[in-house]
């Protein structure tokens, strides 16, 4: 063995690895403008889209001290700049934006992508595809729907410095919200690419104390179809298994009005294809805790422990959940929305059995659904 050869090989390897780094074009933090949020709305002219960029004003943020009130003054001016660019697509908007900024706009810190309800499918696909094609974007930004994306990004966020920070918090904190399954950019991208099941995005609305979740937005492909709010959204959450800490007020004949809290559930379903028609058997297991029972006039007051096992209460609660579920499933199926994510289930379970189905929207419209709810109730212990 030649003396010193291992050292030379090691150095050559090191030099090769150094050259293969691929980060030579990265810029320091002071040379970048960070895009924290991006909202896509319909433009003022046909064929145009309005892109709102949520950019932190670093001079105003200064030293990390909280300025409060998103988008408002932090001592050195507004904490956030929200320029709006009208362009036919995101690439053009980014290019126009870059021309207006002295620093390189950088999407690596994107927190939230807000898609307006009224967007055409092509605009949704363009935004998602363009962002995912950008090497700076790692795909972990949260995606949500809003009636007005721009209003959301410029709404006050009293607890955070930037509206996008507040949105990021709302959209990422699954355990904080009673009903929400976080959806990230890479998931949307995958969903749009695979066409397996419909896209369900959280719907966000601005409020006086900051933005909050308003419901769920159902998509047919990349096209917004409808919204689910209130108990409809709750029932859908029970079916899909992302309901946490929700409650339901159930009127029970002969008993009174019961409040069932800490609702959670999970749905399982079987899909069969027979003579080109789908047969869907859905079973939802629901758990909850009976926390209050307001007795009906004239009815005797019943202890919670007893009431939680009362067949009337169990039946009324199950029926309520079931009726909501049936409404959702039939309504969405009627619109061609794969609300049960049957496409994904079919592709995973037995792809060949479903190969004959040519049109999924048609198959869902004509499918035969059978839904059942299995409810188990605990009861709250009265405080001593």
């Amino acid at each position: 063995m030649i003396r010193g050869l291992p050292g030379a090989v090691f150095l050559a390897l090191l030099a090769g690895l150094s050259l293969a780094a691929g980060n030579w074009d990265n810029r320091p933090v002071g040379h970048r403008t960070f895009v924290e949020g991006l909202a896509v709305d319909p433009g003022s002219h046909p064929g145009q889209l309005a892109y709102t960029f949520d950019l932190p004003n670093l001079a105003a943020l200064g030293g990390g001290s909280s300025s409060g009130g998103g988008g408002h003054s932090g001592g050195g001016g507004r904490a956030a700049l929200d320029p709006v660019i009208e362009a036919p697509n995101l690439v053009q908007a980014m290019s126009d934006m870059q021309r207006r900024m002295p620093r390189e706009i950088y999407f690596g810190q994107l927190q939230a992508l807000i898609l307006a309800e009224r967007l055409p499918a092509s605009a949704v696909e363009d935004a998602v595809d363009t962002l995912m094609a950008n090497p700076e974007v790692d795909g972990t930004a949260y995606v949500a729907t809003a009636k007005d994306g721009r209003a959301l990004l410029t709404a006050p966020a009293p607890s955070e410095r930037l509206p996008s920070d507040a949105l990021g918090l709302v959209l990422s904190c699954a355990g904080c919200e009673p009903l929400y399954d976080p959806v990230q950019l890479w998931q949307v991208y995958g969903n749009l690419r695979s066409r397996l099941g419909s896209l369900v995005l959280p719907e966000v609305a601005p409020g006086p104390d900051g933005s909050g979740l308003a419901g769920l937005a159902m998509y047919r492909g990349a096209q917004f179809a409808s919204s689910l709010e209130g108990n409809d959204a709750l029932a859908y959450g029970l079916l899909r298994g992302f309901t946490r800490r929700s409650n339901l007020v159930v009127p029970v004949s002969g008993l009174g009005v019961a409040t069932v809290d800490w609702l959670s559930g999970h749905g399982t379903y079987r899909v069969r294809a027979e003579r080109g028609r789908l047969h869907v058997d859905v079973r939802v297991r629901v758990k909850g805790q009976l926390t209050a029972l307001q007795a009906a006039p004239g009815a005797r007051v019943m202890a919670l422990a007893l009431a939680s096992r009362d067949p009337r209460l169990l039946s009324a609660t199950s029926r309520l959940v079931l009726s909501k579920l049936e409404t959702i499933v039939r309504k969405q199926a009627g619109q061609g929305v794969d609300v049960l994510q049957l496409g994904a289930a079919a592709s995973g379970a037995d792809p060949t059995a479903f190969a004959g189905i040519r049109s999924w929207p048609e198959a869902m419209r004509t499918a035969q659904y059978r839904l059942s709810v299995n409810l188990g109730l605990l009861h709250a212990t009265p405080a001593a």
Partner: protein
């Protein structure tokens, strides 16, 4: 045109006086040399006290602290003698005592009987202290300047050497650089004998051996190798001896001079010998099979071999429960990594890969850097320079000024430099964390390595970001894995993996479970409390010798 200064006139009288003085001195020296030459060898004393005095007076006797005194031993008609000692180094009280003893034991008749045996007879008669005889002038002069008293006797070729050495010594103090909350508060001092006594007090075993040696042709620095006979591997001691023998230096005044000769890898920034001023720590290391090198004038012992994890150990670790000890060690390790990586991470994440930072932190960093004219890498360099300046000043300044320096460092520099917009406020936090991390290392030598390592790491981070840091870390691991201290792999017990030594590495097992000496030291008694040393066959000894290469 300026006038050239006129040369001063030569003072011929002064020149003449100086010449005469030199000639007299030379004459005295020559007469002494000639006297010895008459007897055949000028390197030996031949019993001519007057000639010896002349020779000494022309040599070391020129110094005012050297006392040359002629007298007679054995009363009237006794033996003429010359007493030589260095005032201050030789204890005058001991000199007086020894002389009284000499005067009492020696009668004129005894002194006249066998002149050549006078010195030996006197040496045997003096009961107190050490009394030896010597003939060689070179050895005699060395002994005189070491603090011994020399007694030259007429017609006796042997010179009586009385051990009257008493160095001025500092009292035993508390350790300054290795403080301990609980445990012994005793540090070594500068006197080798005291150091040995301190060690002996803690290790009251007949196995403890001090092997003396002298280093430095001019300085004659006395050292001693302390080890446990029958426990420490003899090949290690042999290797140490050989390396010390190879240290052909004129002066050996500092420990660094010795440790440079002991290092396997002289160019590595990492320390390969551990210095400690704590007696209990040194004693413990000797107990486990290491060798401590004690040195005159240096209140620190050098412990060899030393591995990377050894530099995270303190004596305090053995005074607490294993939970406390393990946590402390892990914190020190964390401090080491913080010191090496924190500035580099800052540079990498702000210069090359901002996308790796959480959004809120990134905005804070970017916001705090608004208006700062320098790039992050220059900020780091500036602040490190400030820390190094403060550190250097803290060492130089008297203790009473330390508080002032702290105020200057923390308030004046720390606050003002941010207000002036030279660096960002987060840089102050980072550099403070780094400095705290660096100086948590219990061994000062390790902090030097960290302070050097920071620069290539920052450079790699600046050029290639976190990827560059990963490459630099590879290089660092490669370097560390290639190091050894007296043949013991530097990364032991992690590389090579030695599970039996894990009990006392980055964490510490309960003391009752620490029953084995480190395997990497190849001790003759691997288990503590074992009786006689294991019989070591030739094969493992040869292997050990090869490992502890010189």
């Amino acid at each position: 045109m300026s006038e050239r200064p006129r040369p001063k006139p030569i003072d011929s009288k002064a020149v003449l006086q100086e010449t005469v003085s030199s000639a007299r001195q030379m004459g005295r020296q020559l007469s002494g040399l000639l006297s010895d030459l008459d007897h055949g060898d000028i390197g030996l004393f031949h019993g001519d006290v007057a000639a010896a005095k002349a020779r000494l007076k022309a040599g070391i006797g020129r110094s005012p602290d050297v006392v040359l005194r002629t007298f007679t031993i054995g009363g009237r008609g006794g033996c003429p003698a010359l007493l030589v000692y260095v005032q201050g180094l030789a204890a005058s009280q001991i000199v007086d005592q020894d002389f009284l003893a000499l005067a009492e034991v020696a009668s004129s008749q005894q002194m006249a009987e066998e002149p050549a045996e006078r010195a030996k007879m006197l040496a045997d008669s003096v009961a107190v202290g050490h009394a030896t005889t010597e003939r060689k002038w070179s050895a005699l002069l060395k002994k005189a300047v070491a603090g011994n008293a020399l007694v030259f006797l007429e017609d006796c070729p042997d010179v009586l050497v009385l051990d009257t050495v008493q160095y001025p010594a500092r009292a035993i103090d508390r350790p300054e650089t290795e403080q301990s909350i609980r445990g012994s508060q005793e540090a070594l001092n500068e006197v080798l004998l005291t150091q040995m006594n301190q060690m002996r007090r803690l290790l009251q075993t007949e196995r403890l051996v001090f092997e003396p040696s002298v280093l430095g042709r001019m300085t004659g620095t006395r050292i001693a190798l302390a080890y446990l006979d029958g426990v420490t591997n003899p090949a290690l001691v042999e290797s140490l001896r050989r390396r010390l023998k190879g240290l052909a230096a004129e002066e050996v005044l500092t420990q660094a001079r010795v440790s440079s000769a002991l290092r396997d890898h002289p160019w590595s920034p990492f320390p390969l010998t551990r210095a400690s001023e704590r007696v209990d720590f040194v004693a413990r290391e000797v107990m486990v099979g290491r060798v401590a090198l004690l040195m005159e004038n240096v209140p620190f012992a050098q412990i060899v071999p030393a591995t990377f994890v050894d530099f995270f150990r303190t004596s305090m670790d053995y005074g607490f429960s294993f939970w406390e000890a393990s946590l402390s060690r892990l914190i020190r390790v964390l401090g080491f990594f913080l010191g090496v990586y924190a500035p580099a991470f800052y540079v990498a994440l702000t210069t090359v890969e901002p996308d790796l930072l959480p959004s809120k932190l990134l905005l804070s960093v970017a916001g705090s850097r608004e208006g700062v004219p320098f790039p992050p890498v220059v900020e780091v360099i500036l602040m490190f320079a400030v820390i190094e300046l403060l550190r250097e000043a803290a060492i130089r300044l008297p203790k009473s000024m330390n508080q002032t320096l702290g105020t200057v460092g923390a308030i004046v520099i720390g606050t003002s430099i941010v207000s002036a917009g030279v660096v960002s406020d987060q840089m102050i936090v980072l550099i403070t964390l780094t400095a705290v991390g660096v100086f948590t290392a219990p061994a000062w030598e390790l902090t030097t390595a960290v302070r050097w390592l920071v620069w290539p790491m920052v450079l790699a981070a600046y050029v290639l970001g976190v990827y560059g840091m990963a490459l630099m870390t590879l290089l660092l691991i490669q370097h560390l894995a290639g190091l050894s201290s007296f043949g013991v792999p530097y990364l032991a017990p992690y590389g090579p993996w030695r599970p039996v030594d894990m009990g006392d590495a980055m964490t510490r097992a309960p003391l009752r479970d620490l029953t084995r000496r480190p395997m990497s030291l190849w001790p003759l008694l691997s288990r503590k409390g074992q009786g006689e040393p294991a019989v070591v066959s030739d094969v493992p000894l040869r292997r050990m010798r090869r490992r502890w290469r010189t």
